[in-house]
C-alpha cells in the first residue's frame, strides 16, 4: 500500500482518522495500533508474525536491562566505593549480554532477510576461486516491510535503555506501536522511543491546525512524488537502461534528474509520513533540511536522511569512539606517530565503520558498499587536504568567508553528491563507471535545442512541468533555509486566500501528477531498503 495511492490516502488514512476522531482519547492508541497492524498485514501478509515476535524480544530484552539497573540501585546502598564498582561491573556484564544478544538477534534476522543472498554470492565467488565449486544456493527471500528502518529503531530502543537514557517501557503495546507505526514503517523517519513513544500512546485532542498542517504536508509530498519524481523517473529509467546509446549532456542530465527524483521522492515520502502523523497530533523528527545548500559532503549528510546520520553518529560513531578497542588503538597510534599524523589517523577506523554501515544499510549489493566507501574517501580527502588548502587559500588571498566562495562550495558538493547518486542508481559499479566516462564524451550543447531531449520518453509538456515544479521546490527550500514558514504565513490569510491556495495545491497534484493511462506507477525507492 504505497503512501501515494488512493487506497492509502482515501481509504486507509481517512478511515483511521475518522475512527480516531470518534473514539475517546484513552482509546486512540488502540486505533493507531490496529491500523498499523492492518497496514503491515495488508502489505506484508504473514511476515507480520516475524515483526511481532521480534518486537516482543526487544520489549523483553529492554525490560530485563531496566530491571538489572533497578536491582543494582537497590543493592549499591551502603557499599564501599570499590565494592560498588565491582557490583556495577557485574550488573553491567549482565546488561551487556542481554543487550548484545537481543540486538544481534534482530540484526541476525535483518542479515538473513536482506543480506543472505549477498553473503552466499560472495562465499560462492571465493570458493569458486579456490576451485571448491559454488555450494551455496542463492534464494530470493521476501523481506518484511521496512525491516531496515524497523531494526534500527529496535536497536536504538535497546541501546538507549542499556545506556540508561530512559527506562524500558512496561507496556508491550507502546513498544510495538513505536516499532510499527504505519507512517514510519516504510521509509522512516527513524525515530527514537523517547521522541515518539509517549506521543503515540497518549491521546491527543484533535486540532484544526494539526489536521490542516498535516494535510498540507501530505499534498506537498504528493506533489513532489507524483509531479516531479515519477515524471523524472521515465527519462532516468530510459537513459540508465540504455546508457550505451547516450553520452555527454544526456548522461549528465539523467544523473541530475535522478538526484532530483530521489530527493523529491524521498523527501516527499517523508512529508506524507510526517503529515499523516501530524493529523493525529503526533510530531515525527525531520529527515531533510535543504540538503542541496550544503557546503561539504559532511554537511550534506547532516541535512539528508538526518535520522539515519544521527543513528550512525549515536550508535556507531560514539559507540566505537568510546569503546575499549578504540582506546587501545588511540594509545598505540599516539606512541608511534607524530601529533599531526595522529590527528589524521585516529578518525579513520570510526569513519570507516560509519560509512561502511551507511553503504551496507542501503542494500545488499557491492555497489552500495562502494557508495559508502565513496563518501569515506571524500571525507578522508577533506581531512587530509584541509591544512594544505588553507595554506593555498591564504597564499592566493582567497577569502573563504565570501558569498562567492560559499556558492563554489555548494556547487562542488552538489557535483560530488551527483557522482554518488550515479553509483547509487546504476545497475552495477561497472555501469556507473561506463556512464561516468561517457558523460565526458561527445559533450555537445546542441542536444539541448535540437530535439534530442524529446526522444528520451518525456515530451515538451513533461519537461515544462518538471522545470516549473523544480523551480517551485527550490523556491520553497530557499524560503525554508531563510526560516520563512509558508504554512504559518498562509494560515494567517483570510479564508478565501487560504482555501484558494489549498485548492490550487490539490488541483496541481491531481492535474499534473504523473499517473493514469500514459504513466506507470513508480514504487518508492527507499521502500525497497
Amino acid at each position: 500500500m504505497a503512501y501515494s495511492s488512493y487506497v492509502y490516502l482515501l481509504l486507509f488514512l481517512l478511515g483511521t482518522f475518522v475512527i480516531y476522531a470518534i473514539l475517546p482519547k484513552k482509546l486512540e492508541w488502540v486505533v493507531l495500533l490496529l491500523s498499523s497492524i492492518l497496514f503491515y498485514f495488508a502489505t506484508s501478509g504473514k511476515l507480520i508474525l516475524y515483526i511481532l515476535i521480534s518486537a516482543m524480544t526487544v520489549f523483553g530484552g529492554a525490560l530485563f536491562i531496566s530491571r538489572a539497573d533497578s536491582r543494582f540501585a537497590d543493592l549499591k546502598g551502603g557499599l564501599e566505593r570499590d565494592e560498588r564498582k565491582r557490583l556495577k561491573k557485574r550488573f553491567q556484564r549482565r546488561k551487556k549480554l542481554i543487550c548484545y544478544t537481543t540486538v544481534l538477534l534482530n540484526f541476525g534476522l535483518l542479515i538473513y532477510f536482506k543480506y543472505s543472498g549477498l553473503l552466499a554470492e560472495t562465499a560462492n565467488g571465493v570458493l569458486n576461486g579456490l576451485s571448491l565449486g559454488q555450494p551455496f544456493q542463492i534464494k530470493k527471500i521476501i523481506m518484511p516491510l521496512g525491516i531496515s528502518f524497523y531494526t534500527l529503531q529496535a536497536a536504538s530502543y535497546l541501546i538507549d535503555v542499556y545506556r540508561g537514557k530512559y527506562k524500558a517501557s512496561r507496556n508491550p503495546v507502546k513498544v510495538i506501536l513505536y516499532l510499527i507505526f504505519f507512517p514510519t514503517i516504510v521509509e522512516g523517519p527513524i525515530s527514537r522511543f523517547d521522541e515518539v513513544g509517549e506521543q503515540l500512546y497518549s491521546g491527543h485532542k484533535l486540532s484544526y491546525k494539526n489536521v490542516t498542517f498535516g494535510l498540507q504536508l501530505i499534498f506537498w509530498g504528493l506533489f513532489k512524488k507524483l509531479v516531479i519524481a515519477d515524471r523524472a523517473d521515465i527519462l532516468v529509467k530510459n537513459v540508465f537502461s540504455n546508457y550505451g546509446q547516450y553520452s555527454g549532456i544526456i548522461i549528465i542530465l539523467s544523473v541530475l534528474l535522478y538526484t532530483i527524483q530521489i530527493y523529491a521522492e524521498f523527501s516527499g515520502c517523508m512529508d506524507i509520513a510526517v503529515g499523516s502523523a501530524k493529523m493525529f497530533g503526533i510530531d515525527l523528527p525531520q529527515n531533510f533540511r535543504q540538503p542541496f545548500f550544503s557546503t561539504s559532503v559532511n554537511e550534506f549528510w547532516r541535512r539528508w536522511h538526518i535520522t539515519l546520520g544521527a543513528w550512525l553518529r549515536d550508535y556507531v560513531f560514539y559507540g566505537a569512539s568510546l569503546s575499549g578497542w578504540y582506546k587501545k588503538f588511540t594509545a598505540m597510534i599516539r606512541k608511534h606517530f607524530s601529533e599531526g599524523a595522529v590527528k589524521l589517523i585516529l578518525p579513520l577506523p570510526v569513519l570507516f565503520l560509519v560509512w561502511f554501515g551507511n553503504g551496507l544499510w542501503h542494500g545488499a549489493d557491492i555497489k552500495y558498499i562502494m557508495y559508502g566507501m565513496y563518501y569515506f574517501f571524500i571525507t578522508c580527502m577533506g581531512m587530509f587536504f584541509e591544512a594544505p588548502f588553507a595554506i593555498i587559500n591564504s597564499k592566493l588571498r582567497i577569502d573563504t568567508k565570501t558569498r562567492g566562495y560559499r556558492i563554489f562550495q555548494v556547487i562542488r558538493t552538489f557535483i560530488l553528491v551527483n557522482i554518488g547518486m550515479l553509483m547509487f542508481r546504476a545497475d552495477s559499479l561497472n555501469t556507473a563507471w561506463q556512464m561516468f566516462l561517457s558523460s565526458f564524451k561527445g559533450v555537445n550543447l546542441s542536444v539541448l535545442t535540437d530535439g534530442s531531449l524529446l526522444g528520451l520518453g518525456i515530451d515538451i509538456c513533461d519537461w515544462s512541468i518538471i522545470i516549473f515544479s523544480v523551480i517551485l521546490m527550490l523556491t520553497v527550500d530557499i524560503l525554508k533555509e531563510k526560516d520563512f514558514s509558508i504554512r504559518e504565513t498562509v494560515s494567517e490569510y483570510n479564508i478565501f486566500i487560504r482555501w484558494g491556495v489549498y485548492i490550487a495545491a490539490v488541483v496541481l497534484v491531481v492535474v499534473f501528477g504523473a499517473y493514469g493511462a500514459n504513466y506507470n506507477p513508480v514504487a518508492f525507492i527507499y521502500a525497497a531498503f
Partner: protein, 77 residues
Amino acid sequence: MNKLIELLKGLRPDIDFESEKHLIDDGILTSFDIIEISSEIQDEFDIDLTPLDMVPENFQSADAMYEMIKRLSDEDE
C-alpha cells in the same frame, strides 16, 4: 579546573579555553576533538563517559566540561 585547562591546552593549544563559551556552536571543536578530549578526561579523572554524555551542552566550554566531570565523579561516589 586547572588540571582540565592544562589537559585541553595540551590537545588544542590554539584555543583559548578560558574565554571560549561556544566551542561547539561556533565550530571550534570537531567531533574528533571531542572524542580525543573525552578519552583524555576519562583517563585523567578516572570517570566513564558514555555516548549519552556526548552532547553539545557538555562540551561548549571548559566550565561545561568541568561540570560534567564533577557530576560523573559524584555519581561514582
